[in-house]
């Protein structure tokens, strides 16, 4: 596994975000989908194109470092040349991603909106299948790192916009201000309302010489931070001075010239009219902010009389800008501190990717989105101590999941015990599970510790739980509920601390309906349910799995003096066969098929003859041969074009519009498929 990243600085013009955030360098129309599709060659496992801080960055996980040129080809094809930029590898790449994510390189250091933009883009890329376990992990670590930095450094401290500076200053003057009067309207009004609402101002009053505008502002629903708890009221323009008695904050956005209906230029609030209302405040502090866009410097916007008042604090736009500037400078000063933390976290992240819990995606090959969600759920389930039910067809890897859970959990030091409930006769199963004392039944020659006891402080996997008999289910339920067990023939109760992971290929809910499975036990076990999809529902994983098995089975054969088996490859027809097959036995069947094929193969290629005949004959059952098909078409005099278009569309439909799969069935390259789809106007709709 190798991580790599390259980036392209874009021209100043902010690119059109219509393309789901990712924009091309003079190559319009390239969407995330294309990146991901182009990268889905076998050598690029995961890819993440990112548009951030006016750059396009292309992160990728390569199967091996030597595949770098594949990635470089892709980037050149997609982005033009990565001019003058150094490529980042491995830890530096992770570090770089963290820095971007935390907002270290943004114009406003520590800008938290960057984080949201990145997460949004990642989720879009994930929809197209570009994100795999490695990138998902890095993203998770990035979120944690950002949390750590925001909590422990001042990288995101203080307001970074003029609108946010207003509540910040108010908070330095008053403890609990809740009412604000907004006079007029300009381009700042919406950000200011939003930032006030977020800061806990609950009552917002709007006044404007034009009552319609005041109404409009009060009813504006475009702001996400406004909730039902916020009261917004339009106020008659004449009433604005009365509001001073109540509101702790006044924000004016009108210059004297803008106030219509007055003969001479007067500020929007005058001390003469406000005096009596000010007095009724009894020295409670009042903040007046002059946000009128043109006259930020002009003293004429505010009645100079207010400056003489006790406990009246007056600010202008330039004061707010000064606060923001100062905050940004202070944030800049904490960058080295944040850098250090990021370097440390990146190192930890790399260790995790290569370290102990790497098996989560190393042992289990998962290139399909379904499997990623399963693995993610597994990882999260492992950290809890809840009982887990793993459902899935036979051979899907339920035990692997159970082991992963055990090793990830805090019980990893304890033992992992498994028992197949379907494979052991009922009475034997009881003594296996609970143990027995000497002489409790014929053949009980000595005391025997039960598996539940062996798994003390560990995990017990009850495989095929659906096959357990009802009386034993009751005993198991008791053991789980009480945390105590009693051996067969013993009177002594022993406390156990075991996490139960149960797995089954049967539908337990159906068994409950039939009355062969106890509902209460079901709810005990089904605290978290992990459903492992069958192989046919994750066809993307078939070929990677096949290759992995190939490597595994090919290796020992070298010792017999055969040709170098590491170059063993699958014939294209074999690949097609594998992809088209239904795999009732799932991964285990695939494993056996590959083992058999390796044993039977000659030379460096797995040929179709090495596969079991049932696997390839499937399409032939009662089906037509290409000759027959063409025979029918001959009568209708179809053109080659029509036939080809039809066939491609059908194949795409059959493969659920998975282009990789389709190309493999059709035996053409992706670009050819793409071209033909365009030619024939085939699209998902």
């Amino acid at each position: 596994m190798h991580l790599i990243c390259g980036s392209v600085q874009l021209a100043d013009a902010p690119p059109d975000s219509g393309h789901t955030g990712i924009v091309t360098n003079g190559m319009p129309g390239i969407h995330i989908e294309h990146y991901v599709r182009a990268a889905r060659s076998k050598d690029i496992d995961e890819i993440l194109p990112l548009y951030v801080d006016n750059r396009i960055e292309l992160y990728a996980v390569l199967a091996h470092e030597k595949h770098q040129d594949v990635w470089e080809q892709l980037t050149t094809q997609m982005l033009g040349r990565l001019h003058g930029e150094e490529l980042l590898h491995q830890q530096t790449c992770v570090e770089h991603f963290f820095r971007r994510f935390v907002g270290l390189h943004s114009t406003i250091p520590g800008d938290t909106t960057v984080q949201f933009h990145i997460e949004e883009q990642v989720s879009q890329v994930a929809q197209w299948g570009g994100i795999g376990p490695v990138l998902a992990r890095i993203l998770r670590e990035a979120i944690e790192t950002a949390g750590e930095i925001h909590n422990n450094t001042h990288l995101s401290a203080g307001s970074a916009t003029v609108a946010d500076a207003i509540p910040e200053i108010i908070a330095k003057i008053m403890e609990q201000a809740s009412s604000v009067l907004i006079l007029g309207r300009n381009e700042y009004v919406l950000p200011i309302i939003e930032s006030l609402a977020e800061a806990g101002f609950e009552r917002l009053f709007f006044a404007h010489p034009d009552m319609g505008i005041a109404h409009e502002l009060a009813l504006n629903d475009a702001l996400y931070s406004l909730t039902d708890a916020h009261i917004r009221l339009p106020i008659e323009w004449e009433q604005r001075h009365e509001m001073l008695a109540e509101c702790d904050v006044v924000i004016t956005m009108l210059t004297p010239e803008q106030i219509s209906g007055t003969k001479e230029a007067t500020p929007c609030i005058t001390l003469r009219e406000a005096q009596s209302h000010l007095d009724s405040r009894k020295n409670r502090p009042l903040v007046i902010v002059d946000c009128s866009s043109e006259g930020g410097e002009s003293e004429a916007n505010i009645d100079p009389g207010f400056y003489q008042q006790e406990n009246v604090f007056i600010y202008t736009l330039s004061d707010l800008e000064k606060v923001v500037q100062q905050n940004i400078q202070r944030r800049r000063r904490t960058i080295p501190q944040a850098q250090k933390r990021i370097a440390k976290r990146a190192q930890i992240c790399m260790q995790r990717l290569y370290g102990k819990d790497r098996y989560l995606f190393d042992g289990m090959i998962a290139r399909s989105p379904v499997m990623h969600t399963v693995l993610e759920l597994t990882r999260r389930a492992a950290t809890s101590d809840a009982n887990i039910l793993i459902q899935g067809e036979t051979g899907t890897g339920k035990e692997l999941i159970a082991r992963a859970i055990h090793r990830q959990s805090h019980r990893a030091e304890g033992s992992f015990v498994t028992i197949n409930c379907g494979a052991i006769p009922e009475d034997l199963l009881e003594s296996e599970l609970f143990g027995h004392v000497k002489g409790s039944f014929t053949g009980a020659m000595s005391n025997k510790q039960g598996l539940l006891e062996q798994a003390h402080h560990g995990t017990l996997l009850l495989d095929e739980i659906g096959d357990m008999s009802l009386p034993l289910q009751v005993k198991l339920l008791r053991a789980i509920q009480e945390g105590e067990i009693r051996s067969v023939g013993s009177t002594e109760q022993r406390t156990i601390d075991v996490r139960i992971v149960a797995s089954t290929h049967r539908d337990l809910e159906e068994l409950i309906q039939e009355g062969t499975f106890r509902e209460d036990l079901y709810y005990r076990l089904n605290v978290i349910r992990i459903t492992v999809p069958p192989l046919r529902e994750r066809r993307e994983d078939i070929l990677p799995l096949a290759e992995a098995f190939l490597r595994r089975f090919a290796a020992p054969r070298r010792s017999f003096g055969r040709p170098d088996q590491r170059t063993l490859r699958l014939q294209p027809e074999v690949e097609r066969c594998l992809l088209a097959y239904e795999w009732p036995g799932n991964v285990r069947e695939l494993e056996n098929v590959i083992e058999r094929a390796v044993a039977l193969s000659f030379g460096g290629m797995i040929r179709i003859e090495s596969l079991p005949s049932s696997l390839c004959q499937q399409p032939a059952q009662g089906q037509v041969t290409p000759e027959q098909l063409i025979q029918e078409a001959m009568d209708q005099q179809y053109s080659l074009r029509e036939l080809e278009a039809q066939y491609i569309e059908q194949v795409l439909k059959a493969s659920d519009w998975n282009h990789t799969l389709a190309t493999q069935i059709l035996g053409i390259s992706r670009t050819t498929l793409w071209r033909k789809m365009n030619d024939y106007g085939i699209s998902k709709e």
Binding site: G158, K172, E175, K282, N283, N311, F313
Partner: protein
Amino acid sequence: MPMNFLNPLAYLLAVGYGISFLFYLLSFTTSRDAMGRWGSCLLLVSTVLHLFFLVSFTWIHKRIPLAHVTEAMTLLAWFAATVYLILEWRLGEKAFGTFLMPIPFALQLIAALGLEMNRPVAPILRDVLFEVHAIAILLAYAAFALSFIASLMYVLLYREVTHKQWGMLYVRLPSLQFLSEFSLHAGLIGFGLITFGIVMGSWNGIRVWSSGWSLDSKILTTFGTWLVYGLFVLLYRLQGWRGRRNAYLSIFGFLWVLFSFLIVTNYLSGIHSF
């Protein structure tokens, strides 16, 4: 003297307060939370040790350390530090520490320098009534000290907020309203305590001195303190004074307390030893 550990301990306490002040200062200037935590920890250790010091003193000498100005100072230092520590724990506001810590530090340092064991003590100073009187007034002083610190911070922050110089104080200090209310409540509590202390003192005086109590300089200055804070309370109640003017009054009041405590006690003779 077998119990000679009290003198070195007094110096150690001064050092403890001093270092914890430095930590608070560092935390304030560099905005490192770790520094603040160290400061709080050290302050906690110091106050606990200080309590041990006071208890030992009382145990050895069979009286509360109240007979001399230096003894009163160390007691006052402990009051101030402990009250602050409780407030920090309740309010989670460390900025105060930076401003307040010089007070216990200085008091304890002066006390340690002048502390003398085995000083002959007049019997009236072992009286419970006297002790209540003195402790009430010392507690009032501690409250005034807190009020003073809050007011000082208020004035400094007010300057930054009105002059629009968004400096370090702007970043670190709590809001003006908070400071003002804090100062006000500390002042009110202090006023209550000093009133109680004066009443107890006069009762004590009438009881002890058969001639009725004479007006010495200390009584006069203390009465002055009472008047200043009385005005403070009155203006708040009747005139609704808040903010800057109150802050100035509180600062003046505490300076007056310092004057009466340090200057009057040392340079003007009277029947009060502090």
